[in-house]
Amino acid sequence: MLRPADDSLIRELAEGREEAFVALYDRFASSLLRVAVRLLGSQQDAEDAVQEVFVGVVRVRARLPKVENLRAYLFATLRRAAARLVAARRERVLSPEQEQALAAPEAKGVDSEQAVRLERALRMLPSEQREIVALKIEGALTFAEIAGVLAISPNTAASRYRYALEKLRAALEA
Protein backbone atom coordinates (compact mmCIF):
# COMPACT_ATOMS: atom_id res chain seq x y z
CA MET A 1 0.00 0.00 0.00
CA LEU A 2 1.32 3.42 -0.95
CA ARG A 3 1.45 5.99 1.82
CA PRO A 4 0.41 9.52 0.79
CA ALA A 5 3.79 10.94 1.81
CA ASP A 6 5.51 8.29 -0.30
CA ASP A 7 3.29 9.17 -3.22
CA SER A 8 4.47 12.77 -3.43
CA LEU A 9 8.07 11.80 -2.70
CA ILE A 10 8.02 9.23 -5.49
CA ARG A 11 6.58 11.77 -7.89
CA GLU A 12 9.31 14.27 -7.05
CA LEU A 13 11.99 11.60 -7.30
CA ALA A 14 10.70 10.60 -10.71
CA GLU A 15 11.02 14.25 -11.76
CA GLY A 16 14.64 14.17 -10.62
CA ARG A 17 14.33 16.90 -8.01
CA GLU A 18 17.37 17.41 -5.83
CA GLU A 19 15.33 18.07 -2.69
CA ALA A 20 13.51 14.76 -3.18
CA PHE A 21 16.81 12.87 -3.14
CA VAL A 22 17.83 14.64 0.05
CA ALA A 23 14.45 13.91 1.62
CA LEU A 24 14.71 10.26 0.62
CA TYR A 25 18.14 10.00 2.19
CA ASP A 26 17.14 11.78 5.39
CA ARG A 27 14.09 9.60 5.80
CA PHE A 28 15.53 6.17 5.11
CA ALA A 29 19.33 6.25 5.41
CA SER A 30 19.46 5.58 9.12
CA SER A 31 17.19 2.52 9.14
CA LEU A 32 18.68 1.17 5.91
CA LEU A 33 22.15 1.48 7.36
CA ARG A 34 21.18 -0.29 10.59
CA VAL A 35 19.65 -3.19 8.68
CA ALA A 36 22.64 -3.30 6.34
CA VAL A 37 25.03 -3.49 9.28
CA ARG A 38 22.95 -6.32 10.69
CA LEU A 39 22.92 -8.19 7.38
CA LEU A 40 26.56 -7.63 6.50
CA GLY A 41 28.28 -7.40 9.87
CA SER A 42 30.50 -4.60 8.66
CA GLN A 43 29.97 -0.85 8.73
CA GLN A 44 31.95 -0.32 5.56
CA ASP A 45 30.08 -2.97 3.60
CA ALA A 46 26.81 -1.64 4.98
CA GLU A 47 27.61 1.87 3.78
CA ASP A 48 28.50 0.54 0.34
CA ALA A 49 25.22 -1.35 0.15
CA VAL A 50 23.15 1.63 1.27
CA GLN A 51 24.86 3.91 -1.22
CA GLU A 52 24.10 1.37 -3.92
CA VAL A 53 20.41 1.48 -2.93
CA PHE A 54 20.18 5.27 -3.16
CA VAL A 55 22.11 5.50 -6.40
CA GLY A 56 19.92 2.72 -7.79
CA VAL A 57 16.82 4.73 -6.93
CA VAL A 58 18.13 7.67 -8.92
CA ARG A 59 18.98 5.38 -11.82
CA VAL A 60 15.48 3.89 -12.05
CA ARG A 61 13.60 7.03 -10.97
CA ALA A 62 11.47 7.08 -14.10
CA ARG A 63 9.99 3.72 -13.12
CA LEU A 64 9.44 4.62 -9.46
CA PRO A 65 5.76 5.58 -9.90
CA LYS A 66 5.09 1.87 -10.40
CA VAL A 67 6.42 1.13 -6.91
CA GLU A 68 3.61 0.34 -4.51
CA ASN A 69 5.49 0.60 -1.24
CA LEU A 70 8.60 2.75 -1.23
CA ARG A 71 9.87 1.50 2.12
CA ALA A 72 9.51 -2.14 1.15
CA TYR A 73 11.05 -1.41 -2.22
CA LEU A 74 14.11 0.20 -0.62
CA PHE A 75 14.64 -2.67 1.79
CA ALA A 76 14.18 -5.25 -0.95
CA THR A 77 16.80 -3.38 -2.97
CA LEU A 78 19.07 -3.28 0.06
CA ARG A 79 18.66 -7.01 0.52
CA ARG A 80 19.78 -7.64 -3.05
CA ALA A 81 22.72 -5.25 -2.68
CA ALA A 82 23.74 -6.97 0.55
CA ALA A 83 23.48 -10.39 -1.08
CA ARG A 84 25.74 -9.23 -3.88
CA LEU A 85 28.29 -7.91 -1.39
CA VAL A 86 28.20 -11.09 0.67
CA ALA A 87 28.69 -13.15 -2.45
CA ALA A 88 31.58 -10.94 -3.50
CA ARG A 89 33.38 -10.68 -0.20
CA ARG A 90 32.17 -13.66 1.80
CA GLU A 91 30.75 -13.17 5.25
CA ARG A 92 33.44 -12.13 7.67
CA VAL A 93 33.92 -13.27 11.21
CA LEU A 94 33.62 -10.29 13.51
CA SER A 95 36.43 -9.43 15.85
CA PRO A 96 35.48 -8.86 19.52
CA GLU A 97 35.96 -5.11 18.94
CA GLN A 98 33.57 -5.12 15.99
CA GLU A 99 31.06 -7.14 18.00
CA GLN A 100 31.32 -4.61 20.79
CA ALA A 101 30.83 -1.74 18.35
CA LEU A 102 27.84 -3.42 16.73
CA ALA A 103 26.29 -4.11 20.10
CA ALA A 104 25.95 -0.36 20.66
CA PRO A 105 26.94 -0.39 24.35
CA GLU A 106 25.35 3.00 24.92
CA ALA A 107 21.95 1.34 24.62
CA LYS A 108 19.41 2.77 27.01
CA GLY A 109 19.36 0.84 30.28
CA VAL A 110 21.29 -2.09 28.90
CA ASP A 111 24.73 -2.69 30.23
CA SER A 112 27.59 -3.41 27.91
CA GLU A 113 27.89 -7.10 28.78
CA GLN A 114 24.21 -7.72 28.12
CA ALA A 115 24.42 -5.82 24.86
CA VAL A 116 27.32 -7.99 23.71
CA ARG A 117 25.45 -11.15 24.72
CA LEU A 118 22.41 -9.99 22.80
CA GLU A 119 24.60 -9.25 19.81
CA ARG A 120 26.18 -12.71 19.97
CA ALA A 121 22.75 -14.30 20.25
CA LEU A 122 21.56 -12.34 17.22
CA ARG A 123 24.50 -13.49 15.18
CA MET A 124 23.78 -17.10 16.15
CA LEU A 125 20.31 -16.90 14.60
CA PRO A 126 19.74 -18.59 11.26
CA SER A 127 20.15 -15.97 8.54
CA GLU A 128 16.45 -15.99 7.62
CA GLN A 129 15.45 -15.21 11.21
CA ARG A 130 18.23 -12.66 11.66
CA GLU A 131 17.05 -10.93 8.52
CA ILE A 132 13.49 -10.71 9.77
CA VAL A 133 14.62 -9.33 13.13
CA ALA A 134 16.71 -6.73 11.30
CA LEU A 135 13.85 -5.69 9.04
CA LYS A 136 11.37 -5.57 11.93
CA ILE A 137 13.53 -3.92 14.57
CA GLU A 138 16.12 -1.87 12.67
CA GLY A 139 14.01 -1.23 9.58
CA ALA A 140 10.72 -0.78 11.44
CA LEU A 141 8.88 -2.65 8.70
CA THR A 142 5.47 -4.18 9.25
CA PHE A 143 5.03 -7.90 8.73
CA ALA A 144 3.14 -7.13 5.53
CA GLU A 145 6.13 -5.11 4.29
CA ILE A 146 8.59 -7.79 5.40
CA ALA A 147 6.47 -10.32 3.55
CA GLY A 148 6.74 -8.19 0.43
CA VAL A 149 10.51 -7.84 0.79
CA LEU A 150 11.12 -11.54 1.37
CA ALA A 151 8.38 -12.84 -0.90
CA ILE A 152 6.74 -14.81 1.89
CA SER A 153 3.34 -14.54 3.56
CA PRO A 154 2.86 -12.10 6.47
CA ASN A 155 2.02 -15.04 8.73
CA THR A 156 5.29 -16.75 7.86
CA ALA A 157 7.14 -13.51 8.56
CA ALA A 158 5.42 -13.19 11.94
CA SER A 159 6.13 -16.82 12.82
CA ARG A 160 9.80 -16.54 11.93
CA TYR A 161 10.06 -13.40 13.99
CA ARG A 162 8.52 -15.11 16.97
CA TYR A 163 10.86 -18.11 16.63
CA ALA A 164 13.77 -15.71 16.45
CA LEU A 165 12.74 -13.97 19.66
CA GLU A 166 12.35 -17.33 21.38
CA LYS A 167 15.84 -18.33 20.33
CA LEU A 168 17.24 -15.03 21.53
CA ARG A 169 15.55 -15.44 24.88
CA ALA A 170 16.84 -18.99 25.25
CA ALA A 171 20.35 -17.87 24.34
CA LEU A 172 20.28 -15.01 26.84
CA GLU A 173 19.03 -17.23 29.62
CA ALA A 174 21.51 -20.02 28.96
Partner: protein, 136 residues
Protein backbone atom coordinates in the same frame (compact mmCIF):
# COMPACT_ATOMS: atom_id res chain seq x y z
CA UNK B 1 0.08 -1.58 15.49
CA UNK B 2 -0.07 -5.01 13.96
CA UNK B 3 -2.38 -7.65 15.31
CA UNK B 4 0.48 -9.72 16.61
CA UNK B 5 0.67 -10.24 20.33
CA UNK B 6 3.83 -11.42 21.94
CA UNK B 7 3.94 -13.08 25.34
CA UNK B 8 5.56 -10.81 27.96
CA UNK B 9 8.89 -12.63 27.97
CA UNK B 10 9.26 -12.22 24.19
CA UNK B 11 7.98 -8.66 24.31
CA UNK B 12 10.82 -7.97 26.76
CA UNK B 13 13.36 -9.33 24.27
CA UNK B 14 11.81 -7.17 21.57
CA UNK B 15 12.02 -4.14 23.84
CA UNK B 16 15.70 -4.79 24.49
CA UNK B 17 16.33 -5.10 20.78
CA UNK B 18 14.43 -1.90 20.05
CA UNK B 19 16.08 0.05 22.86
CA UNK B 20 19.55 -0.38 21.46
CA UNK B 21 20.91 2.94 20.27
CA UNK B 22 22.69 3.16 16.99
CA UNK B 23 24.79 6.09 15.94
CA UNK B 24 23.20 7.92 13.00
CA UNK B 25 24.99 7.89 9.65
CA UNK B 26 27.87 10.34 9.62
CA UNK B 27 27.73 13.62 7.73
CA UNK B 28 30.63 12.37 5.59
CA UNK B 29 28.59 9.37 4.54
CA UNK B 30 25.58 11.60 3.86
CA UNK B 31 27.62 13.83 1.58
CA UNK B 32 29.15 10.80 -0.14
CA UNK B 33 25.75 9.30 -0.91
CA UNK B 34 24.17 12.58 -2.01
CA UNK B 35 27.13 13.28 -4.30
CA UNK B 36 26.79 9.84 -5.83
CA UNK B 37 23.08 10.44 -6.33
CA UNK B 38 23.72 13.79 -8.00
CA UNK B 39 26.32 12.23 -10.28
CA UNK B 40 23.86 9.50 -11.21
CA UNK B 41 21.16 12.09 -11.88
CA UNK B 42 23.37 13.95 -14.37
CA UNK B 43 24.93 11.15 -16.37
CA UNK B 44 25.40 13.48 -19.33
CA UNK B 45 27.76 15.66 -17.39
CA UNK B 46 29.62 12.60 -16.17
CA UNK B 47 29.83 11.26 -19.69
CA UNK B 48 31.23 14.57 -20.85
CA UNK B 49 33.85 14.40 -18.12
CA UNK B 50 34.80 10.88 -19.16
CA UNK B 51 34.90 11.92 -22.81
CA UNK B 52 37.13 14.88 -22.00
CA UNK B 53 39.52 12.70 -20.01
CA UNK B 54 39.60 10.11 -22.80
CA UNK B 55 40.25 12.75 -25.44
CA UNK B 56 43.07 14.23 -23.38
CA UNK B 57 44.57 10.77 -22.86
CA UNK B 58 44.43 9.95 -26.57
CA UNK B 59 46.02 13.30 -27.39
CA UNK B 60 48.82 12.75 -24.89
CA UNK B 61 49.43 9.18 -26.10
CA UNK B 62 49.57 10.29 -29.73
CA UNK B 63 51.87 13.14 -28.84
CA UNK B 64 54.15 10.86 -26.86
CA UNK B 65 54.15 8.24 -29.59
CA UNK B 66 54.94 10.85 -32.20
CA UNK B 67 57.81 12.19 -30.12
CA UNK B 68 59.23 8.71 -29.75
CA UNK B 69 58.95 8.08 -33.47
CA UNK B 70 60.64 11.35 -34.27
CA UNK B 71 63.36 10.76 -31.73
CA UNK B 72 64.04 7.31 -33.14
CA UNK B 73 64.07 8.58 -36.70
CA UNK B 74 66.57 11.29 -35.77
CA UNK B 75 68.81 9.31 -33.53
CA UNK B 76 69.14 6.09 -35.51
CA UNK B 77 69.96 6.25 -39.19
CA UNK B 78 67.95 3.63 -41.04
CA UNK B 79 71.03 1.81 -42.24
CA UNK B 80 72.00 1.11 -38.64
CA UNK B 81 68.71 -0.43 -37.64
CA UNK B 82 68.94 -4.04 -36.55
CA UNK B 83 72.63 -4.12 -37.41
CA UNK B 84 75.24 -5.63 -35.11
CA UNK B 85 78.41 -3.76 -34.21
CA UNK B 86 80.56 -5.34 -36.91
CA UNK B 87 78.03 -4.67 -39.65
CA UNK B 88 77.59 -1.11 -38.43
CA UNK B 89 81.34 -0.59 -38.36
CA UNK B 90 81.64 -1.85 -41.94
CA UNK B 91 78.82 0.46 -43.03
CA UNK B 92 80.48 3.40 -41.32
CA UNK B 93 83.82 2.66 -43.01
CA UNK B 94 82.16 2.40 -46.42
CA UNK B 95 80.60 5.83 -45.95
CA UNK B 96 83.62 7.37 -44.23
CA UNK B 97 86.76 5.74 -45.61
CA UNK B 98 88.89 8.29 -43.75
CA UNK B 99 88.04 6.55 -40.48
CA UNK B 100 90.27 3.72 -39.29
CA UNK B 101 88.75 0.31 -38.59
CA UNK B 102 89.16 0.92 -34.86
CA UNK B 103 87.44 4.33 -35.05
CA UNK B 104 84.58 2.88 -37.10
CA UNK B 105 84.25 0.08 -34.58
CA UNK B 106 84.17 2.51 -31.64
CA UNK B 107 81.66 4.64 -33.45
CA UNK B 108 79.47 1.62 -34.09
CA UNK B 109 79.61 0.68 -30.40
CA UNK B 110 78.66 4.20 -29.45
CA UNK B 111 75.81 4.19 -31.92
CA UNK B 112 74.40 1.06 -30.31
CA UNK B 113 74.47 2.67 -26.86
CA UNK B 114 73.60 6.35 -27.36
CA UNK B 115 74.05 7.76 -23.84
CA UNK B 116 77.71 6.81 -23.87
CA UNK B 117 78.58 9.11 -26.77
CA UNK B 118 81.63 11.12 -25.65
CA UNK B 119 81.79 14.89 -25.73
CA UNK B 120 84.59 14.78 -28.33
CA UNK B 121 82.11 13.27 -30.79
CA UNK B 122 79.44 15.83 -30.13
CA UNK B 123 78.19 14.64 -26.74
CA UNK B 124 74.52 14.15 -26.21
CA UNK B 125 73.75 16.85 -28.72
CA UNK B 126 74.71 14.33 -31.37
CA UNK B 127 71.52 12.45 -30.59
CA UNK B 128 69.29 15.44 -30.72
CA UNK B 129 69.42 16.54 -34.32
CA UNK B 130 69.57 15.06 -37.76
CA UNK B 131 72.52 17.28 -38.69
CA UNK B 132 74.67 15.52 -36.12
CA UNK B 133 74.46 12.42 -38.31
CA UNK B 134 75.30 14.18 -41.47
CA UNK B 135 78.51 12.23 -41.87
CA UNK B 136 77.91 11.13 -45.42
Amino acid sequence: MEPFDLPPELAEIERRLTDRCHPPPTSVFRERVLSAMRAERSPKRSLWNVAAVLAASVFLCLNFGLSLTNHRAWSEPQWLESADVETSARSIRQRHPDLSAWEAHQFAILLQSPPALPASLGGNRAWEGEESWDMR
